[in-house]
Amino acid sequence: MHRRDFLLKGGIFTASALTAIGTHAYVARSANPRDDQKRLVVIFLRGAVDGLNIVVPYAENAYYQARPKIAIPQPGHQGGVLDLDGRFGLHPALAPLIPLWEQGTLAFVHAAGSPDPTRSHFDAQYYMESGTPGVKNTTDGWMNRLLSILAGRTPIQAVTVGETTPRILSGKISIANLASGRNADKPLPLDRPQVAEAFDKLYSGKDVLSTTYYEGRMARQALKSDLDEEAKMANNGAPLPYGFARDAQRLAKLMVKDPRIQLGFMDLGGWDTHVNQGGSTGQLARNLQQLGNGLVSLVQGLGSVYQNTAVVVMSEFGRTVNENGNGGTDHGHGNVMWILGSKVRGGKIYGEWPGLSANQLYQNRDLAITTDFRDVIATLLERHINLDAAKLNRIFPDYQLKNNLALI
């Protein structure tokens, strides 16, 4: 297996070399990142979030007819949406994001998604993460293919928050994972030099376990020194937020501290609201509040790095236009994608709105898709990361860009 070729090329493959090089030498010899390094953060909402209740088409009667219990009222009413552009309004639980909308660094693409008709969470997530809708034998994720294109390979060029590697980042190139939660930064026995030295000998081969082991060792060395400093600094500041916001803030600080981190990924579950979804308040509202706070933490934590960062929030598909009999929604099709970033032409809702009348729906039940999710990502990669058409074609093979959105 020839994943992780940076190790081979860097010639730091044997135990003795690693021991001799040590942390500082390793840091010094890795890429020489520029201050204006372009960054990309993807946040995946697993479980199919109900985009129609996030960026609400409040000017459509059909919306209110389809959702007698869970619709969010029009602006100005109690619990009403926060008006965005006279046609659409934001869920009130996302009020903390309104300043970003007003500053023009938050945009949405409505009626976006994957063209594959599946309503299986798992297939749909796989297609969005592999970047190849309808093709089941793609072995890597599009963010990993992106890594193979970016220059200056380091073991922490891509960081995912969580204990496992998501499909979107899996593939040939190594990535680092930052465990989530409070215990993530605690010292481990493997941090002790004597223990590490013994295991270095055990895993000095070129097999997949050895290479993965080395990636883990190096990523931990790099991340640990960053995190140690961050922890010291944190004592002076405000108390850390909880859960998702806390993880988002950690990722942001790490990206600020370490310009080698170019790609970030986080995921958040709990969106599969078949029952008691709620409206202005309730289950979805609570989750959105958590997400909104997390995004604010991320933007604040990024500070000046936000200048060079684009953030995408996406989900595998949308939910039925009609609410079901249990105050929830079932698996649908089109959804809304969120884009944040200083350079984003925000304050605007992109995409062609297909409408919610019966004859405008996909299979008579769901929001139709007018923008392929790959158009949104490709636009960002093209204009933010400066990839040319040939490179875009490696990321989304056999795909012709359809809508060139003036997102950025």
């Binding site: 899996s170 994972n177 997949v208 579950g269 078949h274 029952v275 249990n326």
Partner: protein, 520 residues
């Protein structure tokens, strides 16, 4: 260095000391014996390799396929008997977890706290029971199948009342059927409130039916879809969105009665509510089903369980779990045939699997990367430490991204290398191996004098205070030569040389953290 393997085995034992080299080196372990133990159990315990060598591989397979014939460990039986919430039915579990209040008054903060503690205790005992059984039961294949089927019919514990139902779900809907008929297992999961709540079918109601009111207003597709996509046919199983809707209509009214109402004689809250059912005739997967009530569900489950597509789906998953991440088609087809011929008899399918050419293909030996669950349990088993305290195990599972009963999505945890091998996981596994080998993980600590007199069931489930444990248990490092024996000394030259050249106090850690032990 270039030294022959035999010499290395010898030299390792000499280095480790305490083992008669002639005895240890004379008989390298039969790879087939190690393979069958690795795949039919959560790994060797001290003496198990030698036992299976003496009774033979075939007898071991027969034994594990008939768990009822294996006497259970008395220690385990005793430990389980102390977990008093384990055998309570769902209704009792629910009622006992509600805060006590009088009349219309709101429950007091104390009552709320007690209810939360009770719910926490129930969950903790379920986790403890599962880990104790996995680590200590002699019926290892049964425990492997519990894990397999739980993931197949996954229920997530952190959704409403499922936090006190997952244990009962495993106990009542999974365990009795793990080697039985697939159709029975399917029915048991479909009737348990844990599944009905998790996938929302308890509210699934025919629109406009006499019982449609309040929270019961209309169709809910959630369970119907996963029942086909995950539990039976598989995602490419040939059903359509129309079949999902039809199955949802068949399933209307299928759920459980309100939990504050009296239950049936068996204490099961299962209830079919005809007032919420859609009685129209239906065409499901090409079969006509007459509108008739609960029997429609039985017919639908029959159709699903007997479909060759389901047989293929289950066979693929079993072959993946027991043989290879990418199981050969030939094996899947063989199992599918047996599944169909035996009407979904799981024991028969497994018997065919364990005697298949593919299972015994040496290319598949030691080739499956252990899941975090398999890794953690195999470490504990290999040390031979008596387990009294499972909390270090559950906390490790958390750290490795596989907390018990906490897979949010209905597809359950995967068992492939793709899903679990990543840099941080290696770091954490090796750290766990090192901590266990040094004797500093208090697996054997017995907690004393922590009983609240009014809550006797909490004895073995109290949160663990690490300081108290340290005082109670002596630090006893794992003996490296004993461990090498337990594992059949089945290490590559490179592993042996790395072990031999490392400080003695780290040798057991290196074995538990070796590439050979990462796989099974």
């Amino acid at each position: 260095m270039n030294i022959k393997p035999k010499f290395f085995i010898l030299s390792l034992f000499i280095l480790l000391g305490g083992v008669n080299p002639s005895h240890a080196a004379s008989k390298p372990v039969d790879p087939k014996v190690l393979h069958v133990i690795n795949r039919l159990s959560f790994g060797p315990t001290p003496g198990e390799l030698q036992r299976v060598e003496s009774i033979g591989v075939e007898r071991y397979i027969q034994e594990q396929l008939s768990p009822e014939s294996i006497p259970e460990s008395p220690t385990l039986t005793d430990q389980l008997s102390q977990l008093q919430t384990l055998n309570l039915n769902p209704v009792t579990l629910y009622r006992e977890s509600q805060p006590i209040h009088l009349g219309n008054q709101k429950p007091t903060p104390e009552a709320m706290k007690a209810a939360r503690e009770r719910a926490h205790l129930i969950m903790q005992q379920a986790v403890q029971a599962r880990l104790l059984r996995a680590a200590e039961s002699h019926r290892q294949l049964q425990e492997m199948m519990v894990e397999f089927w739980y993931n197949h019919f996954n229920v997530y514990a952190n959704k409403g009342p499922d936090r006190f139902w997952v244990g009962s779900y495993e106990q009542e809907a999974i365990r009795p059927y793990v080697l039985g008929r697939f159709r029975d297992l399917l029915e048991a999961t479909a009737r348990h409130p844990a599944m009905m709540y998790y996938l929302d079918n308890w509210q699934n109601t025919a629109p406009g039916s006499p019982g449609a009111h309040g929270r019961y207003q209309g169709l809910n597709e959630n369970y119907a879809r996963e029942l086909m996509e995950l539990h039976t046919l598989g995602v490419d199983g040939g059903y359509t969105q129309q079949d999902v809707i039809t199955l949802a209509r068949i399933l209307t009214g299928w759920g459980y009665r309100p939990l504050n109402q009296p239950t049936g004689e068996d204490g099961s809250p299962f209830y079919f509510d005809p007032k919420r059912h859609d009685f129209s005739d239906k065409v499901f997967l090409g079969h006509t089903i007459k509108g008739s009530g609960a029997s429609e569900v039985e017919q639908a489950l029959d159709i699903l369980a007997r479909s060759p597509v389901t047989a293929h789906h289950i066979s693929y998953q079993l072959a993946q779990y027991f043989v290879s991440d990418h199981p050969p088609d030939s094996l899947v087809k063989l199992l599918q045939k047996r599944f169909i011929a035996s009407d979904g008899n799981i024991r028969e399918v497994l018997k065919t699997l364990f005697h298949s050419q593919e299972f015994w293909d040496s290319a598949n030996f030691n080739s499956k990367f252990k899941t975090p669950y398999q890794y953690v349990i195999s470490v504990v088993r290999a040390t031979g430490m008596p387990v009294n305290n499972t909390s270090p195990m559950s906390s490790m599972l958390q750290q490795l991204g596989m907390p018990l009963y906490s897979c949010l999505t209905p597809d359950g945890y995967k068992n492939t290398e793709d899903a679990w091998l990543n840099p941080d996981a290696m770091t954490r596994r090796l750290s766990f191996a090192t901590a266990v080998a040094s004797g500093r993980v208090p697996l054997s600590a017995v907690l004393k004098n922590q009983t609240k007199t009014d809550l006797p069931v909490m004895r073995s489930a109290m949160p663990v205070n690490q300081n108290q444990i340290r005082q109670q248990s002596r630090i006893q490092p794992v003996d490296a030569s004993q461990l090498a024996m337990t594992l059949g000394n089945s290490f590559s030259n490179q592993t042996q040389s790395a072990i031999a050249s490392s400080p003695p106090q780290l040798r057991a850690a290196l074995m538990l953290g070796s590439p050979e032990f990462m796989r099974h």
